[in-house]
Subunit: 206 residues, 2 copies
């Protein structure tokens, strides 16, 4: 059974399953089942069994799942049995909040370099790093073999910075700008777009 | 044709269409078509025509769309022909970055109150507001008739704060915490979950 054919929407749910398994593990629980996972996630038990079946199942029929085992398997499937180095571009208000956020490091991602083009920001200390001149962006990405970038720059320069990131070897971009990035098919982009999310919800309000 | 039956995934794309129409309008353009919208958004022209057909079409067959008209219609459909007051809970690093973000106000959402429970933060000035004691949360929401909240608190208190927000009348929550909120069916939640997005992309990396 090849995991490579798994629909992207299923892959997108695996981090949610992993988060619940981490919680169960912290609570000292050793086993769980699709009903419990479903209740914690607001999904049906059938959905969870179907999603996990893409990877071969993980449970004895009727016996549920071993928390530690399923957790490790999900970490392996998502390539989280390592720490991914991440480059952050943009040291404005948002960039600084992101650099200080402990959740990245706790979950497999370490910001190892921060860049900005503002002489007032270059050289400042930030979350144990020093803000570097964006002129060195490509050199650092290549030297450290970084594949993941967080983009927190003004929208008007987002595409130009993304082009530079991709040319230097970045293959996954967490895009905090409202710009819609044009990227090659082998580069993944996930948009963090709070305005669009608010507008989406406003549809349902009166 | 009732817009209320429109699939939620279609509603979720309307803010993206609106953003492109805003760009076209700023560029001084008066007409566009589904091909151009598709190219700017990375969607097919057929998808865009199908999405807009849920609301009656907006274009003469073969003649494309009038930018100003379609923009106004999307704003009306999304209930953006008004400014929505928003309450922000949490004045930590992330909360402060969100309070300072001009994109909310520019796109129909105005943060009108900020709360925290930290005596060190209560009373501080933030983006033209004063951080208030979270004890006053319900009173302010009710007094101002606020329906939308941005949640930027520690994960361990997220559910308790959400419960208070909902009891006071909040109907839409932009959730910046990694907690999976349990909410009644008439309350909308959109999760901003950068860790899950990074983990999702890591699946495709090697």
């Amino acid at each position: 059974m090849s995991a490579k054919k798994t629909p992207d929407i299923v892959i997108g749910r695996l981090p949610l399953y992993l988060r619940v398994l981490n919680q169960l593990w912290e609570e000292g629980r050793t086993t769980t089942n699709s009903q419990e996972l479903g209740e914690r996630l607001g999904l049906s038990a059938a959905q969870i069994r179907k999603d996990l079946s893409h990877f071969g199942g993980f449970g004895k029929y009727g016996a549920g799942y071993e928390v530690a085992y399923l957790r490790e398997q999900l970490r392996r499937i998502l390539h989280l049995n390592r720490v991914w180095p991440v480059v952050l571009v943009g040291a404005g208000n948002l960039g600084r909040a992101l650099a200080d956020y402990p959740g990245f490091r706790e979950n497999g991602f370490e910001i190892v370099a921060v860049f900005d083009n503002d002489p007032q920001k270059i050289g400042l200390a930030l979350a144990g790093l020093t803000v570097q001149d964006v002129a060195w962006l490509e050199a650092v990405i290549i030297e450290k073999g970084i594949q993941i970038a967080i983009l927190a720059v003004p929208a008007r320069v987002a595409q130009a910075v993304a082009d530079r990131l991709i040319a230097a070897g970045i293959r996954a971009i967490l895009n905090y700008t409202p710009a819609r990035l044009k990227t090659p098919p082998d580069v993944r982009v996930q948009d963090i777009d709070p305005v669009a999310r608010l507008q989406h919800m406003a549809y349902y309000l009166e």
